[in-house]
């Protein structure tokens, strides 16, 4: 799934430069940037970014910014910033970095990428069970009843399945299940 990236930076020139570098990158979705921190708090709640790329001169307290969530906070620097300040960030992008380095730094900082070293993309037994039922055309409610879990749990499994496979539609997941021999051909009829 794409990492949602919020850029907070006063310079329009730098915002546009970053957007042009990240445009077309399948790993990131660049959210509407902020040029000041006036609306930052509501944006963090409303847009739920995975990565916050922010000019450190705008930030007083990184920890408070990060809050309880898993959001990564990356510093965007183009002037000298104290090393002690930068060590509170999950990564540092220097605007003189090359395109590849900038993308790599952001990817490294992404939550979910660094937690266990590598994300596990294999479906769990439970997720597979949900997938099989989905492919047979069952609704969330029916799946919940069949597996003896709540609808909420089914929805959360579905999110994980989509995250791992990159496939959103039920029709697409059915093709996936067939290609991986998770369902019997006759089960579809």
């Amino acid at each position: 799934m794409k990492q949602r990236l919020l850029i907070v930076e006063p310079s329009e020139l730098i915002i546009e430069g970053l957007k042009s570098i990240l445009d077309g990158q399948i790993r990131f979705k660049v959210l509407e940037p902020e040029m000041t921190i006036d609306r930052l708090e509501e944006r963090l709640v409303g847009s739920r970014p995975d990565i916050l790329l922010i000019n450190p001169t705008l930030v007083e307290n990184v920890a408070r910014l990060r809050g309880e969530g898993s959001m990564a906070v990356v510093a965007l620097v183009y002037q000298y910033v104290e090393r002690d300040v930068l060590k509170n960030y999950d990564g540092v992008v220097d605007i003189r970095d090359s395109r590849a380095v900038i993308i790599e730094t952001l990817a490294q900082a992404s939550p979910g990428e660094n937690e266990s070293g590598k994300s596990n993309y294999e479906l769990t037994k439970r997720e597979t069970a949900v997938l099989v039922q989905l492919a047979q055309g069952k609704t969330n409610k029916e799946i919940a009843d069949a597996l003896n879990v709540s609808v909420h749990t089914v929805i959360s499994h579905r999110k994980n399945i989509t995250h791992k496979t990159g496939i959103k539609s039920v029709a697409g997941l059915t093709v996936y299940a067939m290609l991986n021999n998770l369902i019997d051909e006759s089960a579809l009829l």
């Binding site: 959103k168 067939m178 290609l179």
Partner: protein
């Protein structure tokens, strides 16, 4: 991003320079009814010869070329938009009659290499998608476009309002992403042939084109129609 009517290209630039710099515009240009063979004529000359409004042409070019470009309402209202609906209709036909069948032929060839029912499920995924796209387009052609034509000729038909469109307009590229993921990640290695490479190219191109198409409908057509509806009601 700020509005700047003509961007990099002005109506006096040569059409051939525009296409050399942005070859992906070519398909959009032919859909506007502009034939090839521009020679050294300027954008304005080529547009005039084909009866296409130059400002409208540059507006669409900008949308296709600059990803973050959203024309302001002032720019939209200041541009002759009579060509908009015919262009959208032409685009629909291009997607439905040309691009989708083309992709389907490649997918058919791929499906042949998949065993039995798997190939069938694979191809029916695409057929289903194609039907959804066609239904999406026919709804627009049946309800939305006639409404716009009526408004443009100063008539008010109150049976439909663009509010309904905004409410129900769904993205039509999502399933193409699913298809790409299936092809990249999950097709068995034995189907690794030229068809796969060709179809991936085709899907990516169609997906980009559809994104721009949706963008034109949502960021140009909708504000225009809202304005026309308000003007007629007041």
């Amino acid at each position: 991003m700020k509005d700047n009517k003509s961007r990099l290209f002005s109506s006096e630039s040569r059409m051939s320079d525009l296409i050399t710099a942005h070859p992906s515009l070519l398909s959009m240009i032919t859909r506007l009814g502009i034939p090839l063979g521009f020679g050294d004529r300027s954008i304005a000359d080529v547009c005039d010869a084909s009866g296409v409004n130059t400002a409208f042409f540059l507006l669409i070019c900008n949308v296709y070329t600059f990803n973050n470009y959203v024309p302001s309402t002032a720019v939209i209202l200041g541009t002759d938009m009579t060509g908009l609906v015919p262009y959208l209709e032409k685009s629909h036909r291009y997607y439905v009659d040309k691009r989708l069948p083309h992709i389907e032929r490649h997918l058919d060839a791929i499906a042949q290499k998949l065993s039995g029912r798997i190939g069938l499920v694979f191809i029916s995924f695409f057929k289903e998608y194609k039907q959804e796209v066609e239904a999406h387009f026919s709804h627009e052609e049946r309800d939305v476009f006639p409404h716009i034509r009526a408004l443009m000729s100063g008539k008010c038909d109150t049976t439909y309002s663009i509010g309904e469109f905004i409410h129900t307009h769904s993205d039509i590229e999502g399933k193409l992403d699913d298809l790409l993921n299936i092809i990249f990640k999950y097709l068995p290695p034995q189907v690794d042939d030229d068809n796969v490479l060709d179809v991936v190219d085709d899907i990516l191109r169609l997906s980009e084109d559809l994104k721009k198409h949706t963008f034109i409908e949502e960021k140009i057509m909708v504000p225009l129609v809202k304005h026309l509806e308000n003007a007629i009601l007041s």
